[in-house]
């Protein structure tokens, strides 16, 4: 299991509330929260371990921005996960590169304890500290309510990050094939942003909806990313509590 604790200097009670919210999300494509515990002053949650790399670690392992086909796979899978969450009225509200966890079978959305949408009481942009500004939609940064379009804006930032290495690239930095879709996701006007399902269709034309998020089949990943995943897996396999080993 992975046991998660609130970050130092954060608000444990708020973090715990968000973990509770996350535990209710059993969407495919979302990092599962299996168990909650502790107190409001010292909360924790636990998830089954599986090898995963946050997107910044993926770029570090690969040695730079990811190839376009992989960006499309990542973006399409995340879009699908968001689409199915939005249908249920759930808004993620905390999509960012560090909250995208790449497993052998594709990305999962994590990032609880950052900023979450309603129904967490008192959630507002003002307290949305800790979230990368490049991923924060202008209307939310301005103090507006967290909405579905905000997730799409953040998705665009994640795609931009995967394709260029940062969340707010110049338009010409973005590979030509991805330029339009990333730009439209990052429209200042929430109304101008596409629905997640539309993003999926743009990134992976012809992909069967529902087949990406939560897949148990490995996806094609660059060699060094596979190397980093398998090394992490091997290290955790070999880990033991020293006092209990013979």
């Amino acid at each position: 299991m992975l046991a998660c604790l609130p970050p130092l200097g954060g608000d444990p009670a708020r973090w715990g509330a968000e973990a509770q919210q996350a535990a209710r999300l059993t969407q495919p494509g979302f990092w599962p929260v299996a168990q909650l515990g502790g107190t409001s002053a010292f909360p924790w949650y636990a998830s089954p371990y599986r090898p995963a790399l946050p997107l910044p670690a993926v770029l570090a392992a690969h040695g730079g921005p990811l190839p376009e086909p992989l960006v499309r796979t990542l973006g399409g899978t995340l879009a699908e996960a968001l689409a199915s969450a939005h249908v249920l009225g759930v808004v993620h509200g905390g999509v960012c590169p560090a909250g995208v966890l790449l497993t052998a079978c594709g990305p999962l959305l994590g990032s609880f304890g950052a900023m979450r949408a309603n129904p967490v009481a008192g959630a507002s942009a003002a307290s949305a500290t800790g979230l990368e500004t490049g991923c924060l939609a202008p209307e939310i940064a301005a103090g507006g309510p967290v909405g579905r379009a905000g997730d799409v804006y953040a998705l665009g930032a994640v795609l931009a990050y995967a394709a260029t290495g940062h969340t707010v690239p110049e338009r010409q930095e973005i590979p030509a094939g991805l330029r339009d879709i990333i730009t439209v996701c990052r429209s200042r006007d929430p109304e101008g942003r596409p629905e997640p399902a539309r993003v999926l269709a743009e990134l992976l034309p012809g992909a069967a909806y529902g087949a990406l998020a939560g897949s148990t089949e490995p996806v094609s990943l660059p060699g060094r990313v596979v190397e980093a995943l398998s090394r992490q897996s091997a290290e955790v396999l070999a880990a033991a509590l020293p006092t209990q080993e013979r």
């Binding site: 599986r50 090898p51 490995p218 094609s220 398998s230 070999a238 013979r246």
Partner: protein, 727 residues
């Protein structure tokens, strides 16, 4: 890959909790397991039925030692091991990568840079092994795991230190023919240079998807490994000269592992600095690695429930294709007794084929006798012909692949080996071992030599017969009885073939008598033959596509032919002469007895007898065995029959057998309490009093030999020979 535990798998091994199965083999099972501290490992155990075998225990210990020598950089790190435990076990890290054969299947042949990197790292791994004076001896694609950080060499099942006594059988008996070195295929010492040869084979496989000597039957492969040119046609041009040097027949001409490492562009990367290796791998292989890295973290599958024992044998659903046909025959001169068989892995209760079948009574399943545990097991290949186990004093002599091996009857350990490829050129008289001098040697005359039971060398000729051509490959040594060797040989002057008796004391020819020349290419003139009472009886080999063979008898004293006749056969012609003082017995469409005195028909059994569906096979009666006035053989798929040897009347027949496909080419073996037969489910013990099958030992025997004196039944399967208690 990860699969569920079986109901009888252990819950713990040593300090580890067992989670799932990773694989199983002839020697043991590999489990995924976790320590109390949370460390996940692969645990290899030795099969319970093999733990009494000290040789295997030693091998197990050596494997643990070898794995420690190679370390985590090039192998699987050893976490813990207990070779002395009641069930010996070895815990290593669980390596995250597919075996090379799976990798090539998943991603296609590797591109040249990947082959080079793979080769350089494997060479470095072997270098490390060899520096510690350990030779792997079984390097092959399935023993190379491809991880994202480079290859790992595993399965040191037969790795051994230089100079250590031959622990594991010998010669062709070990290793995998496709990746064997020629010296190993010849039964000679396979040293460090042998591993270089095997490594080159592995790289050819990585680059093309095929081994350098192709595929096919083990014996063909062995021949090509020893004498054939490797096929490097599809290997990238830049690798060809180097791999050709590694595949040199002469070990001295092969590069060292260090040379190979440099030539392949090795750069001394530490294991932690091999991240670039993954970039060279095809996507299919990377996905396999990723799959394994992820899969091991999923919840392990549930343990399977025990199978429901079925009460009665189930009716035959579909016939299983017959066992391999063994075409060539050999002389059975010194064989211990009739019946051949042999076996492999676990056992199955009669009729317990895993199907549903409700209404089983538990009591029956519990009360049924179980097959015994093997006394020993040794990796000895069974040749296509001449697989009978012969005795030489208290030891055993077996033809194994392309060598002749001396085996300690108590332990199954190999004591010597002789480089005699043709099964028809060696025999024993029960005490000593004899062979014809090699036909490839310079000497022109035919010579019978004794084989030393110390080192397997051929001694000075006991009889040298200048009248016969020593370079003829198909000369045969039928048997040696009372100091007289009986041979079939081609004259030096021409094409005539003779049955020859040579006195080994005086070294002189006693008599000769003309016989038919070989009827089929690649086969000796006689299928089997030997001395029966005052006669020498021969079964001539049939011409290709013919269903007749010659049966003849000669006077032992002066060689004159007493009678000759044509006999028909079905299935495989007889490989073993089955006779008593009165008759020769043959099983084909019917079971027949021919009088030794004049070759006339003494009796014929089975004409018009309803034997049920014989599954379209012409052969209704299996190879017989005669013991104490009773002829035993299997009748179609109905079971064993016992026929009176003098009268040819049925004494009894096996009851209640169905759903089995009898292997009619393998003669039964007879003990005091049981007769042992071979069918598609394995080795079946038939109670001689109850006349019913009592247990089945799961194996695929080719030859069964009963050794009443030693109380053992030798079961020869394709790659392994085991001894069971003869009851």
């Amino acid at each position: 890959m990860i699969s569920p535990l079986l109901h009888d798998d252990p819950h713990t091994v040593g300090p580890f909790r067992i989670l799932a199965r990773l694989g199983g083999g002839g020697m043991g099972t590999v489990y995924l397991a976790r320590s109390a501290g949370g460390r996940t490992v692969a645990v290899k155990t030795l099969h319970t039925r093999l733990v009494a075998d000290t040789t295997l225990r030693t091998r197990f210990r050596l494997e643990a030692d070898a794995a420690r020598v190679i370390g985590s950089g090039h192998g699987a790190a050893v976490v813990d091991a207990d070779p002395q435990a009641p069930t010996p076990w070895l815990a290593t890290e669980y390596v995250l990568g597919p075996p090379l054969d799976t990798a090539v299947e998943a991603g296609g042949p590797l591109p040249e840079p990947a082959v080079r990197a793979l080769g350089a790292l494997l060479a470095a791994g072997l270098e490390q092994l060899h520096r510690s004076e350990v030779v792997h001896r079984d390097l092959k694609p399935s023993n190379v795991l491809v991880t994202a950080q480079g290859p790992r060499i595993i399965d040191f099942g037969i790795a051994r230190a230089f100079g250590e006594e031959h622990l594991t059988s010998v010669g062709s008996a070990v290793g995998t023919p496709a990746f064997m070195s020629p010296e190993q295929a010849s039964g000679l010492e396979h040293a460090a240079a042998g591993d270089v040869f095997a490594l080159a084979g592995v790289l050819v496989f990585a680059a093309t998807g095929l081994g350098p000597f192709g595929g096919g039957a083990p014996t063909d492969l062995l021949y090509r490994v020893r004498f054939g040119e490797p096929d490097l046609g599809r290997v990238p041009e830049g690798l060809r000269p180097l791999l050709a040097r590694c595949l040199a027949k002469d070990p001295a001409h092969r590069p060292s592992t260090a040379d190979l490492y440099t030539a392949l562009g090795g750069t001394g990367d530490a294991p932690g600095d091999r991240r670039g290796f993954a970039d060279l791998l095809p996507d299919g292989v990377l996905r396999e690695i990723a799959r394994r890295s992820d899969e091991v973290w999923r919840e392990p599958p549930h343990r399977l429930p025990p199978p429901v024992p079925a009460e009665a044998p189930r009716p035959e659903v579909a016939p299983v294709p017959g066992v391999s046909r063994r075409r060539l025959l050999a002389v059975a001169g010194g064989a211990l007794l009739g019946g051949g068989l042999l076996g492999g892995g676990g056992w199955a209760l009669l009729g317990d084929s895993g199907g549903g079948g409700g209404g089983a009574k538990k009591k029956d399943a519990v009360d049924r006798p179980k097959p015994p545990a093997p006394l020993w097991s040794t990796g000895l290949w069974c040749p296509d012909s001449g697989g009978d186990v012969m005795s030489a004093g208290r030891n055993l002599v077996m033809r194994a692949g392309i060598v002749l091996c001396g085996i300690n009857a108590e332990s199954g350990k190999s004591t010597w080996q002789a480089n005699i490829e043709e099964t028809w050129r060696s025999t024993t008289d029960g005490t000593r071992v004899y062979a014809l001098r090699g036909h490839e040697e310079k000497a022109a005359s035919l010579a019978v030599c004794e084989v030393s039971q110390t080192n397997g060398y051929l001694g000075k000729p006991l009889a040298e017969l200048a009248a016969f051509d020593g370079k003829e490959q198909f000369n045969q040594l039928l048997c040696v009885v009372d100091g007289i060797a009986y041979l079939v040989a081609r004259s030096a002057s021409g094409k005539r073939w003779y049955l020859v008796a040579a006195d080994l004391d005086s070294g002189k020819e006693r008599w000769r008598s003309p016989v038919d020349e070989p009827q089929a290419a690649g086969a000796p003139p006689v299928l089997c033959g030997g001395v029966v009472g005052s006669r020498v009886v021969l079964c001539g080999s049939p011409a290709k596509d013919s269903h007749f063979f010659r049966l003849s008898a000669h006077d032992k004293g002066h060689g004159r032919q007493l009678w000759e006749m044509s006999e028909t056969f079905a299935g495989t012609p007889p490989t073993r002469l089955v006779a008593d003082d009165h008759n020769v017995y043959l099983g084909a469409e019917s079971l027949t007895a021919r009088r030794l005195s004049d070759g006339g028909l003494a009796w014929l059994f089975g004409n018009g007898r309803d034997v049920g569906d014989s599954a379209g096979e012409e052969r209704r009666y299996g190879a017989p065995v005669v013991q104490e006035g009773v002829v035993y053989c299997v009748e179609a798929d109905r079971g064993l029959i016992a026929v009176d040897a003098l009268s040819g009347t049925l004494n009894w027949q096996e009851k209640g057998l169905s759903g089995r496909k009898n292997q009619r080419e393998t003669a039964p073996a007879i003990g005091k309490r049981y007769a042992y037969c071979v069918d598609d489910k394995g080795l079946r013990a038939v109670d001689l009093h109850a006349r019913k099958a009592v247990w089945t030992y799961e194996t695929k025997p080719l030859v069964l030999t009963a050794d009443p004196k030693g109380g053992r039944l030798y079961v020869r399967q394709e790659k392994r020979t085991i001894a069971l208690p003869l009851a």
